[in-house]
């Protein structure tokens, strides 16, 4: 059986909780962006919401895959939805591969979407999205170093997103904009930390998870300030 467990045993479940937080943050932003789209009918907010929804989906896939890895759900008889997965995927390593593939693909598409929205290129880049999705599939199917390629690509997207938010922060000079800029910068760093984390495991993976959580908490802080400012 292929080993998909990257974290040390003492961290089992803690990373799932961390990713639960990031899932909730992504979902909250997705729902709020959609509400703004319904009010303003400006498509940019719709695509921004969809991107964060994909991010939430990515973390959901990772959480589910990690839970089944850590707690050997395939060998137990009852765990709610995982029981169905057990019956469908008994003895199959493909379940773990598909879980992580879904996490990686959705993450890449999410950050691509955020990048396109922020660069105002959503309308003109459908071909870019198609090509990118094709390359993402090809990379995941053919590449032996898929984790390295995935995290490097994600870090690159986050770098460009950080630059857009930095420019916005420079113009607006508000604490909220600074928190968002900081969040994307920290997330970029976390993706770079995941590279040694996946190959070395242990403390490196823990550090990457902690840094990622800090990034999303910073984003949550900005989001809460936005909500409070208008009450």
């Amino acid at each position: 059986m292929v080993n998909f467990v990257f974290s040390p045993s003492w961290f089992y479940g803690i990373d799932v909780m961390f990713e639960g937080v990031t899932l909730l943050v992504s979902l909250a932003i997705a729902l709020y962006a959609y509400r703004i789209y319904k009010f303003s009918e400006v498509k940019r907010y719709y695509w921004y919401g969809i991107s964060f929804l994909m991010l939430a989906g990515a973390f959901a896939a990772k959480i589910f895959t990690n839970i089944t890895s850590y707690y050997n759900i395939l060998e137990r008889n009852s765990f709610g939805l995982a029981d169905i997965a057990y019956q469908a995927a008994q003895g199959s390593d493909l379940f773990f591969m598909y879980g992580y593939a879904a996490y990686r693909l959705l993450t890449l598409l999410a950050f691509l979407g955020i990048y396109l929205v922020m660069s105002n290129k959503v309308k003109t880049s459908r071909s870019a999205v198609f090509l990118f999705t094709y390359f993402a599939f090809a990379m995941m199917y053919f590449s032996k170093k898929v984790a390295f390629a995935f995290h490097l690509t994600t870090a690159l997207f986050l770098f460009f997103i950080f630059m857009f938010t930095f420019r916005n922060c420079y113009r607006k000079t508000t604490l909220k904009a600074a928190c968002v800029t900081t969040a994307f910068f920290i997330l970029m760093i976390s993706q770079l930390l995941f590279i040694p984390g996946f190959y070395v495991g242990g403390t490196a993976y823990v550090a990457a998870e902690v840094v990622q959580l800090v990034g999303y908490v910073s984003m949550l802080f900005a989001f809460v300030m936005v909500r409070r400012a208008t009450k």
Partner: protein, 88 residues
């Protein structure tokens, strides 16, 4: 930079809100920086959506923002806060 439709609507409603909820038609035109023809288009739309209404004060026609219009301006403010924070 060219204003979007929603920005123009907010500017018109805020012009009324800032003056206590009522405004003369000519003042609205100047405050919202619109031509007469364009203003009339937007007024028709805003009245259809019940965001503003006509009223009369001392025999003079006034435009008045409705409660729904005030809520619109709050929603717009929320949108701008989000837009400014997240750089959209």
């Amino acid at each position: 930079m060219r204003r979007t439709r929603i920005e123009i609507i907010n500017d018109m409603l805020m012009a009324m809100v800032r003056l206590g909820g009522k405004i003369k038609p000519t003042h609205l035109m100047y405050k919202s920086n619109l031509s007469h023809a364009l203003m009339k288009e937007y007024i028709d739309e805003l009245m259809d959506k019940d965001l503003m209404k006509e009223s009369y004060e001392k025999g003079k026609k006034m435009f008045e923002v409705t409660q729904k219009g005030r809520e619109f301006t709050l929603q717009y403010k929320k949108m701008r806060e989000f837009q400014d924070a997240f750089g959209l």
